[in-house]
Every structure is written in C-alpha cells, then in structure tokens.
C-alpha cells in the first residue's frame, strides 16, 4: 500500500510538471513546412549534382582525349560507387524511430558501425584516387608535359592545392571517426544498461 501511495504522489507531482509550450501546434506546423521545403530542395540539389556530373562527363568525353575521358570516367565511377556503397552500408537500418527502444538502439549501433566502416573505406578510396590520378598523369605525360613547360606556375599551384587538400580531408575524416567511435561507445553503454550489465 505504501508503494501505491508513493506512486500516486509521484504521479501527481509528475502530471503537473509541464504543459506543452505556447503555440505548440503552430510552431510544429511551421517546422513541418520548413522540413518539407528542405527535403524538396535537398532532392533537387542531388538530382542537379548527378546530372551535372553526367553532363560534365559527356562534355569532357566530347573533347576526345584519353586524359579527359579518364577523369570523367573516374569521377563518375567514384560518385556512383560512393553513393551506392553508402546506401548498401546503411541497408536495413531505415526508419528506426518507430521501433521499440531496444530495436532502435540496436539499429543505432548498426548505423554508427556502418558509418565508421564507410569512413575507413573513404580513406582508402582517397588514396586510390591519388594513385589513379598519378597513373593517368603519367600515361598522358607527353600531352601534359607540354602544358607544364608552357605554364609551370599554374601547374605548381594545382599540385600544391592537391597536396594540401589531402591532409585536410584526412584530418576531417579522422575527427569524424573519433566522434563516431565516441558515439559507438555511448550506444554500447546504453545496450549494456539494457542488458543490466552496468546499471546499479
């Protein structure tokens, strides 16, 4: 009986804790409209980006030299493979919000683990891209060499920009990976809590 009285007291205190914020429904409707617009804009930008890549590839291919075709094919393959791998990596983890808490946390764990894998692979891909570019340049050195001799300053600038970009990308990937690892630990802690391993 004491237990029930205790629960009743808590319930009384709890039910008077908070009311929905003022103009709650209107604010939510505004937010939904904003999210709808963002969703449409995001999809539009994705379509434009992919069409842009395709047009760029066709345009460069039209120039009909091996270097241009190689670049265009490389960029297209990279873009489509990255997008495809991302979708494949996150398969089976969609719409986790409606699942039970246990399933939600398990899906969360899966998603974070997939993102960490994706980051690791993106490092390898960026290394592969450098090797691909170097091989392409070496294969076309007779054409490129003339350009380098004619405008050496321009080529040095391009080279320095490329060299500086790589550490920036790697540092960003490393920072993101650390963040994701911390998130993975947190999710593991919640899973342990659910299994009763770390709860007092």
């Amino acid at each position: 009986m004491i237990e029930d009285r205790e629960l009743d007291t808590w319930r009384k205190q709890w039910s008077s804790v908070a009311e929905p914020p003022a103009e709650f429904q209107r604010k939510v409707q505004q937010r939904i409209k904003r999210e709808d617009r963002r969703f449409v804009l995001g999809n539009l930008l994705t379509v434009i980006a992919f069409l842009g890549i395709l047009i760029f590839a066709l345009f460069v291919r039209h120039q009909s030299n091996l270097m241009g075709t190689g670049w265009a094919t490389g960029i297209c393959v990279l873009a489509f493979v990255s997008a495809g791998y991302r979708v494949w990596g996150l398969r089976g983890t969609w719409r986790p919000q409606t699942q039970s808490t246990r399933a939600f946390v398990e899906l969360w764990h899966k998603r974070v683990a997939a993102r960490i894998r994706l980051l690791r692979i993106s490092i390898y891909v960026s290394l592969g891209w450098i090797i691909f570019c170097a091989a392409l340049t070496a294969a076309n050195w007779t054409t490129i060499g003339q350009g380098v001799k004619a405008h050496p300053k321009d080529w040095v600038e391009v080279l320095v920009a490329c060299v500086l970009m790589q550490p920036v990308i790697w540092c960003w990937a490393a920072w993101l990976r650390r963040r994701k690892l911390a998130e993975l630990n947190e999710v593991k802690k919640i899973l342990d809590e659910m299994d009763g391993k770390s709860v007092p």
């Binding site: 205190q13 804790v17 009311e19 709650f24 937010r31 939904i32 999210e35 998130e183 947190e186 007092p200």
Partner: protein, 173 residues
C-alpha cells in the same frame, strides 16, 4: 491537397492534442533547459509526423507515440551531453503556476516537483524510461512494447528503477 494528406494532418493534430502534454513531460526527463526542451518537443512532433504515413497499426497509437518520443529523447541525450542539470539550475520559468493561495504550500509543492524531476533526470536512461512510462500510467504490456522487452522483464526492471529513484530522491535535500 490530397485526401490522404488531409487525413494524416487531422490524425496528427489529434495526436498532438491528445499527447502534447505527455510529450512535454517526457521531454522534461531528457532536457532541463526550457528553450532546448521546446526544440526537443518540436523534434519529437516532427518525427511523429514523418513516421505517421508509415504507421499501419502494428502497435497501439499510444505505444507508437511513446516509442518515437523516447527514441528521439535518447538521440538527444547523446547529442547534448551532459544531459543532467543540477537541481538549482532548473529554470524558474519551468515551474507551472499553482493557483492555490498559500505561498508556503505552493513553495513546498514546487520544491517536491523539482526534486522529483531532478532525480529522474539523474537516472540512467533505461531506468528513466521505465519510470517515465510508469508515471504516464502505461500498463506492463504497453511498457514491454515500447521498450522491446518481455512483460516479466518489465516488472523486474521497474522494481530496480523505482529503487534507484527512491535512492536518488533520498540523496536530495
């Protein structure tokens, strides 16, 4: 606007009217700062709206709402660490106005409420969820559906969670 969209909007408005207060209380257990909590409440409502089109009645509407709200709360806890705010930092504006005329009684009630909230916010997330669902009056079966565990497990965990809450309340002045 299509008929389906209109029906969804009506259902959504009804859910907000019916569960708006519960969502706010639940958000209180995950976030003590009023402005951030308001944001969290909106995020929960948005998540409900986004999921509503795919809701096929696999569980009760109540379970559906609480599942989404708790899952959003969990994500919020991760994004905004540390989640717990000390008792004295809970904003004064968070306290609802009590119409009772006696200021002493009102102060005592407010004190108890703040103590309870602070104690709930200090619990591990799984205990916090059990306590919140219990205070919202969900049955063991509903709690099991929200949490994704068996009913027997609910009873065991609920006992543990209540004990932890009592301990937390005991430690607080």
């Amino acid at each position: 606007m299509s008929e389906t969209r209109r029906a969804l909007e009506q259902q959504f408005d009804r859910i907000l009217s019916e569960y708006g207060a519960a969502i706010s209380r639940l958000a209180f257990s995950y976030e003590a700062v009023a402005s951030v909590r308001e944001e969290l409440v909106q995020e929960i409502a948005l998540a409900i709206w986004q999921a509503l089109a795919h809701f096929r009645g696999e569980c009760s509407e109540r379970t559906f709402v609480y599942r989404i709200a708790h899952n959003r709360g969990l994500s919020h806890v991760w994004r905004r660490r540390p989640p717990h705010q000390p008792l004295e930092e809970i904003e004064e504006s968070d306290q609802p106005v009590d119409p009772r005329p006696h200021p002493e009684e009102q102060a005592a009630r407010t004190g108890q409420r703040v103590r309870l909230m602070s104690a709930i916010q200090s619990l591990p997330v799984t205990h916090r969820q059990m306590i919140v669902l219990m205070l919202e009056g969900l049955s063991h079966a509903e709690m099991a559906e929200v949490m994704g565990i068996t009913e027997n497990n609910v009873a065991v965990r609920l006992n543990r969670a209540r004990k932890t809450l009592k301990d937390a309340l005991g430690e607080r002045p």
